[in-house]
């Protein structure tokens, strides 16, 4: 995430000091990507070094106020008009983990998939709850936050669909080739079902 550009974009609205920038950032994005104030000040120092912002003295309480420069405005305009590069899809670790899980012997792929699905589903439930709370507000910052939540919802949803897809394909492959470590279901002994996880009041159960 480009902290630099986010802060510059905020400075374009009005001059601000570090804590204020952090608060404005989090008002729009929730605490999804928490910024610590040290990170904010380090970034401001770099912006000043690069001529994109200027420290223009203190307010009455000793806060250093920063203002955007013309070069900074140009930088913001470029940022908004340039697509974000998709060099590092955030799902990579999961994709890599599954790619290894299906090829490394002895890994219970079904459990890997189900545990991820559960975790992602729980996150999706959280986003949905937050969205319900944010619904109805007409404040621009709340709308911004709710759009961020939508992005998280779409991301989690896509991940779950992909996991469902992986499971279906692996099941089909297991049925066709009888590959042991692709097997997601143990027909011979359902009581030792591979998904079995002792959890909550509805534990996994085999027949009888």
């Amino acid at each position: 995430m480009s902290v630099k550009h986010a802060l510059l974009a905020l400075l374009e609205q009005q001059p601000m000091y570090g804590y204020q920038l952090r608060a404005e950032f989090e008002q729009r994005t929730g605490t999804t990507w928490p910024l610590n104030v040290g990170q904010v000040y380090t970034t401001l120092t770099r912006l000043e070094r690069d001529g994109l912002a200027l420290a223009e003295g203190e307010d009455g309480e000793g806060h250093v106020i920063y203002r955007i420069t013309d070069a900074g405005r140009g930088e913001v305009a470029t940022w908004f008009t340039t697509p974000v590069a998709r060099t590092q899809p955030p799902r990579d670790e999961l994709a890599i983990k599954l790619a290894l899980a299906v090829t490394v012997p002895g890994v219970d792929v079904g459990t890997v998939i189900q545990q991820q699905r559960s975790a992602t589903m729980a996150a999706l439930q959280d986003y949905t709850r937050l969205k319900r709370q944010a619904a109805g507000s007409v404040e621009p910052a709340d709308l911004a936050w709710s759009l961020v939540l939508d992005s998280l919802v779409f991301g989690a949803e896509a991940e779950i669909r992909w996991l469902d897809h992986c499971e279906a394909r692996l099941r089909r492959a297991a049925a066709e080739h009888g590959r042991e470590n692709w097997r997601l279901d143990d027909d011979a002994s359902p009581s030792e079902h591979q998904f079995h996880r002792p959890a909550g009041e509805t534990p996994a159960r085999g027949a009888r």
Binding site: R117, S118, H193, T202
Partner: protein, 240 residues
């Protein structure tokens, strides 16, 4: 915890006879409490509809127990189960099951009238339910003259009309666009927040996410469960 609105204990359901028998459910234990919306997810054929029809008293388990509001459905008998379905249970079928010869209002009012509510009052309740799902303007239309999504909303109105304690919905958002689908979930959620227990079968993760708990079915077995646990629901009613 005994105050579950719905409780399934070690339920199995076998279709057909050996050697071609299908084990649709293999020892499912499941409960839904007042104020709770539970989502059930799983691949096609994993037993979701079977679970729901058994919970709604429309089908009987091969073994195990099903109780609604503490009453064992097996002990109720045919007549008692039918009454339970009319008064306590709202059901949205995967196929909509609307009666073609009745208007939207009449379809929705039917379970109330069957249960002895005066026709005028039943119709007034039906119109209110249709208003909640956003199709009051179609109150006098017949199902054949409505779109799939509109029929779906009639089916949902029929399931929530009256003071149902248990709402069972099998893919209720199937034929709806995202926006309308969310509206239906809002409605289900509101009914549960008001004290009903709901079970929602869906293959859409974003819809399941409206639930307090998500239960995963595979091959007739509950394999996993997620979501706010009961303690959290009780101490933080409005969530985070």
């Amino acid at each position: 915890m005994n105050n579950a609105v719905l409780r399934l204990t070690d339920v199995t359901r076998t279709h057909g006879a050996a050697p071609h028998e299908v084990l649709a459910l293999r020892g499912v234990s499941f409960a839904a409490y007042p104020g709770e919306l539970v989502a059930v997810m799983g691949p096609s054929g994993s037993g979701k509809s079977t679970l729901l029809t058994i919970a709604g008293g429309l089908d009987q388990p091969s073994s195990g127990e099903v109780s609604v509001e503490g009453v064992d459905l097996a002990r109720l008998g045919q007549e008692g189960r039918a009454r339970m379905r009319r008064t306590s249970i709202g059901y949205v079928f995967q196929g909509l099951n609307l009666i073609p010869a009745l208007t939207a209002t009449e379809n929705v009012a039917l379970p109330r009238e069957l249960d002895g509510v005066a026709p005028r009052r039943a119709r007034a309740e039906a119109r209110r339910a249709l208003e909640e799902v956003g199709i009051l303007d179609l109150a006098d239309r017949f199902p054949d003259n409505m779109s799939g999504g509109q029929q779906q909303r009639v089916a949902i109105a029929r399931a929530v009309v009256g003071e149902r304690r248990l709402i069972l919905a099998d893919e209720p958002t199937g034929a709806l666009d995202t926006e309308t689908g969310e509206g239906i979930l809002q409605l289900l959620r509101a009914r549960c927040d008001a004290g009903a227990a709901g079970v929602l079968v869906t293959h859409e993760a974003r819809h399941a996410a409206w639930a307090d708990r998500v239960v995963f079915l595979r091959d007739g077995v509950v394999v996993d469960e997620t979501g706010t646990d009961r303690a959290d629901v009780l101490t933080e009613p409005a969530a985070r």
